[in-house]
């Protein structure tokens, strides 16, 4: 016998747009963003908070979307990598810098870096190299060795 698992209708504010979705209570914010809203820019790596690929801005602050249930995101403003920069033709300064400085290779970790760095530079527009390294210490990148991401 299968029992239908609990679902709830949620209203989520993502990139300035209000969405209504009906999802299982256990659905992670990362999965709602990708599966229910089609915002596949948020990448899912480790699903236990280590890799940083799923990082989104949660009321402005970088947060792991794989460690937040979608239900708990109600009433908060979520910004994904799609909400940073106007559109693919007009990337933000951080996104353009990643392109110009070869800050990525495979690109899997990049959305998490962009959201993390976008929030960091809002708070600290002129960081030292140490501060920059500390800011991205929670994001894993297996291609660049970080040098091109951190380089001034």
């Amino acid at each position: 016998m299968t029992v239908a698992e609990p679902h709830t209708t949620l209203r989520l504010n993502v990139n300035g747009i209000s969405h209504t979705v009906e999802v299982p209570d256990r659905r992670l914010l990362s999965d709602v963003l990708r599966h229910d809203l089609g915002l596949t820019g948020t990448h899912v790596g480790c699903e236990h908070g280590v890799c940083g690929a799923c990082t989104v801005r949660f009321d402005g602050a970088p947060v792991r979307s794989c460690l937040v249930f979608a239900a708990s995101a109600q009433g908060h403003e979520i910004t994904t990598v799609e909400g940073i920069g106007r559109d693919p033709e007009h990337p933000s300064d951080v996104q353009q810098a990643f392109i110009d400085c070869h800050g990525l290779q495979c690109g899997f970790c990049t959305p998490g870096f962009i959201t993390t760095i976008d929030a960091f530079l809002d708070e600290n527009p002129n960081p030292s190299e140490d501060e920059a390294r500390e800011a991205v210490s929670g994001n894993l990148c297996r291609c660049t060795g970080y040098q091109n991401i951190v380089e001034p």
Partner: protein, 304 residues
């Protein structure tokens, strides 16, 4: 890596939360920031039938510094507490240790009180609550009760909180005049769990060390406070480095860590001693300003 099914409850008042706990507490878990709980659920190490999300409650997000202590509401994130100048001035150990709690993105969501409730021996904040002689405040069926750190921690990942109770705050006593506090840990990678960590409060009278106590992270299976006063008593602060080997030896004699894939028991014991000796030397350095209590030491040695 998805949690098993559960019913999510999202109360908006404390009474509603307590009612839900009465009904579901035994089969459920309270979730605040969830930065330790969600990995546990994602890996299915636990499968509660109900989750009670307290993040929509109001009135639990205050930091109040008064009467010689710092009281931290259940919804205060690590990051907010880390950045509170008042909390830092009253109890510098808070900031020193919070800077070592995982990564900034985890601290943005994780709560300090939640980390105490999780009671992980690898967590920094249970050790700091113990070292400062702090307590937690819980609300439940029989009203409010205050639980001292010694009674709160009953085992690894285990507390004396009843299923119908909710932690509403934690209180960390401030440093007294003449006391200095610091924290140090070693991690394999920035932001990882510590291989070993040590927090210390050093008491100084007339430029002479008169007391020293310590607590540990990833070294003891639950928080303990060790009195190391004998190893430093009567030694001038200026000669603290001469007491460091005795402090290290005293620590190594009294801790009994377990080995795991990351470090053997012997290595952890040695590391705890070495970190304690180094931390003593750092605490004995003349304070940068003349203000007492001394400002926090920067988290060091691979701390996040």
């Amino acid at each position: 890596m998805k949690p098993s099914p559960f019913t999510m409850h999202r109360p908006t008042t404390l009474d509603e939360a307590l009612e839900l706990l009465r009904a579901y507490g035994a089969k459920g878990k309270v979730i605040a920031g969830g930065q330790s709980l969600v990995p546990v659920l994602n890996m299915r190490l636990a499968a509660p039938e109900h989750l009670i999300d307290i993040t929509a409650l109001t009135g639990l997000d205050g930091i109040s510094v008064a009467e010689g202590s710092v009281e931290v509401g259940a919804l205060v994130t690590h990051r907010r507490l880390e950045r509170s100048p008042e909390a830092r001035a009253a109890q510098p150990l808070l900031r020193a240790a919070l800077g070592c709690v995982a990564h900034p993105a985890i601290r943005n969501r994780g709560t300090t009180v939640g980390s105490l409730a999780h009671a992980d021996p690898n967590g920094e904040m249970p050790a700091i609550l113990a070292l400062t002689g702090g307590w937690v405040t819980a609300r439940g069926d029989s009203g409010e009760r205050r639980i001292g750190w010694e009674d709160f921690n009953v085992g690894p990942l285990e507390t004396s909180l009843e299923p119908h109770e909710l932690l509403t705050s934690a209180t960390f006593p401030a440093l007294a005049p003449g006391q200095r506090g610091g924290f140090k840990e070693l991690t394999r990678r920035t932001g990882d769990y510590a291989l070993a960590g040590v927090g210390m409060i050093l008491t100084i009278e007339n430029e002479t060390m008169t007391g020293l106590r310590a607590s540990f992270v990833s070294v003891t299976d639950m928080p303990v406070v060790v009195d190391l006063g004998e190893a430093v008593a009567g030694v001038p602060v200026a000669a603290a480095d001469s007491a460091a080997p005795a402090v290290a030896a005293a620590v190594e004699a009294c801790v009994d860590p377990v080995g795991d894939i990351h470090a053997t028991a012997d290595y952890r014991r040695r590391l705890a001693g070495v970190l304690a000796g180094r931390l003593l030397e750092e605490l004995a350095q003349p304070p940068a300003g003349s203000a007492q209590p001394r400002d926090s030491l920067a988290p060091a040695e691979g701390a996040a």
